[in-house]
Amino acid sequence: MCSYIILEKRQVMKMLRFEIKKVFCTFKNKMAVVLLLVILVAVSMLTMNRVEYTDSEGNHISGMLGARSLRAEKKKWKGEITEDVLEAVVRENEAINNSPEALSDDIAEQDKAYAKKQGISGIAELINNAYSEWRDYNYFAIDNVSAKEAKRVYERRVSNLKTYLESGEETFTDSEKNYLIRQYEDLHTPFYYDYTDGWSALLQNISTFILVLALIIGFLVSGIFSSEFQTKADAIFFSAKLGRSRAVLSKMGAGFLITTVFYIIFMLLYTLVVLAALGTDGANCPIQMDMWRSVYNITFLQAYLLIVAGGYVGTLFAATLSMLASAMTRSTATAIIVPFIVLCAFPFLSRVITLPGICSFFPDQLLEIYITLKDFVLVELGGKVVNVIAVIIPIYALACLLLEPILYRVYKKAQVS
């Protein structure tokens, strides 16, 4: 019995291997992989160049070298951002503002002054946020903040929210308002200051990369089911003993494996390349350092994991729909279009017609978690308010699961005439 199971397993593995081979031996799919590698390099470079540093001479340096210097500057201020630190930052800012370089009319000189502010820039941003209008970030707010006022940064975060909620400019229900305030109050303070620019840059470009990855993975799996018909191999396939059972499962397995392995490998490559160049520091700092108003009380690392998880579910959903279209229409071309519709046409649609409620549930949102993290997108479920990410990830994961038996049945019952 046991050896029988082992034999069966070996056989499924064998079929799976051949299915994967079928996918990667076609020219267009080989090209797609090459394209993906090129895009990986391009996006990684763009991301690396997001980190900029101005040296004491006023020269701008971006990328790996810039990151190294910026990191060193910020490390000088590393630690909890207590009231004392906030006060010290305001003082430091004032001192720099009053330096001869800052007061000079020469732009090069001003750049030198700016260079000195880079170490405190993260903390200065918090103060700017706390003293800016709700949706109107003021770069110079800190210049008009007194040392005493600076201490109230964390308090201001909550009180600003309350003012906004009371202004009547928004449409939240009472329970949603309570939820927002609770989340704000629950946020752990003081924040821990560290160089977080590596993570920050990584997250800023990650959605674009996930979208490209999802589309290319959709492209790779789009032919798994339709190619049997298009190459006219269908008659032999479906008249084989396992052609309407395990051979179908092995196709589904191949689709799932390709999706998952590609996603993991390319996500890892992107992450490793970017973080190796820009630094992994600050993984445990709160994302509010980057996204002041976020209701998600999580760290950079957690935000990254959430974005990657959402991206995976979105990619899997698009790939599964593509395979379903491939099995149903028997046309690879149609199947290729499906991920584009799912991931690109929906956001376009939501711009054309305003369906604010529904739009946040569209599958493209799974790839836009970075943006969602910044926004207040809430859902009331059974009287309980939850954020939209907590809803869409499980919903689409479940949808993928439910599509599998449909895909199996559609293909298993195919008629070949």
Partner: protein, 295 residues
């Protein structure tokens, strides 16, 4: 073993491709003979569980083959009329893949693939990509895949179509070699393909089996006679209008005609023995197969 078609019918959007067919098959070679569009492929696809009948049943030893599912398909080998493959696969990989979806264990499969590659004469091309094979080689790879599971039921849809005369002869020999101890259903529109190897011939037209039996029985079923006569060149078109001409041979003194007719077409006409080709012409109103079918 017994395979049985009962009232088997397949309709495509109102068009009946297979029309209430009732037949029984046991071991042996069955030749399904009919012109293009007769419904041969449709019938075979139903036999291979690729198409569900609109009505009627196919049973294997009394069990519906569609209910038997893989239990039935494991006994089946099928060479489709036009078949595709995975162009980037080598012959060996292709056969190993088909062996896998036929549920043949890896160790057995490897041995079987090696044997069959030798048997169909593809040893030298075993590592060549499928897309690089000639038409005849592809067909041989097709036969090899059909034979992988040593099928009880072997279905060959026009296996010789499009092959050159030499290849056709080799193919015919291969098929008759493979036909032992199993049920073979072979379709063709070329009489000579099955004239000698089929134990039973079915003449199919417009979705129905109009005649079945051994070659002799089918020949005897023709109610008209076959005549041979010489006519002057100028008379040929006159004869063609009046009679079914199954063959024509130009000779110095005139044209030798082979005529199918109940009555003697001319004074000097000589009655000769009918062949399967004559019968085909008689029933289908067109010549059997293409020119090189004569080999």
């Amino acid at each position: 073993m017994e395979l049985k078609f009962e009232d088997l019918t397949k309709k495509f959007a109102g068009f009946t491709a297979v029309d209430h067919i009732n037949l029984v098959m046991t071991n042996g070679v069955y030749g399904l003979l009919g012109v293009n569009g007769a419904g041969k492929t449709t019938l075979m696809r139903m036999l291979c569980t690729l198409l569900e009948p609109s009505s009627g049943t196919i049973t294997y030893n009394g069990n519906n083959i569609f209910k038997m599912d893989s239990e039935y398909r494991k006994r089946l080998g099928y060479l489709p009329q036009e078949f595709g493959f995975y162009p980037e696969f080598t012959v060996k990989d292709y056969l190993l893949y088909i062996a896998a979806i036929k549920g043949i264990r890896s160790t057995v499969a490897r041995k079987r693939v090696r044997e069959l590659i030798a048997k169909v004469g593809l040893s030298k091309a075993a590592d060549r990509k499928m897309k690089k094979l000639s038409g005849g080689m592809k067909r041989r790879a097709g036969v090899a895949q059909a034979m992988l599971n040593n099928p009880e039921i072997l279905v060959l849809d026009e296996p010789t179509a499009g092959l050159d005369p030499n290849e056709r002869i080799r193919f015919r020999n291969l098929i008759s070699e493979l036909s032992e101890e199993r049920l073979v259903l072979l379709s063709t529109h070329i009489v000579s393909d099955i004239e000698y190897i089929a134990n039973e011939i079915w003449l199919m037209k417009d979705g129905t089996i109009m005649h079945k039996g051994t070659a002799d029985e089918i020949i005897n079923s023709m109610p008209e006679n076959v005549w041979q006569c010489f006519v002057e060149k100028g008379m040929v078109s006159e004869y063609m209008k009046r009679y079914k001409i199954s063959n024509m041979k130009a000779e110095p003194q005139g044209v030798e005609l082979r005529i199918i007719s109940l009555e003697k077409p001319s004074e000097d006409a000589r009655r000769i023995e009918a062949s399967l080709e004559d019968v085909f012409l008689y029933y289908f109103g067109e010549k059997a197969g293409d020119e090189d079918a004569a080999v």
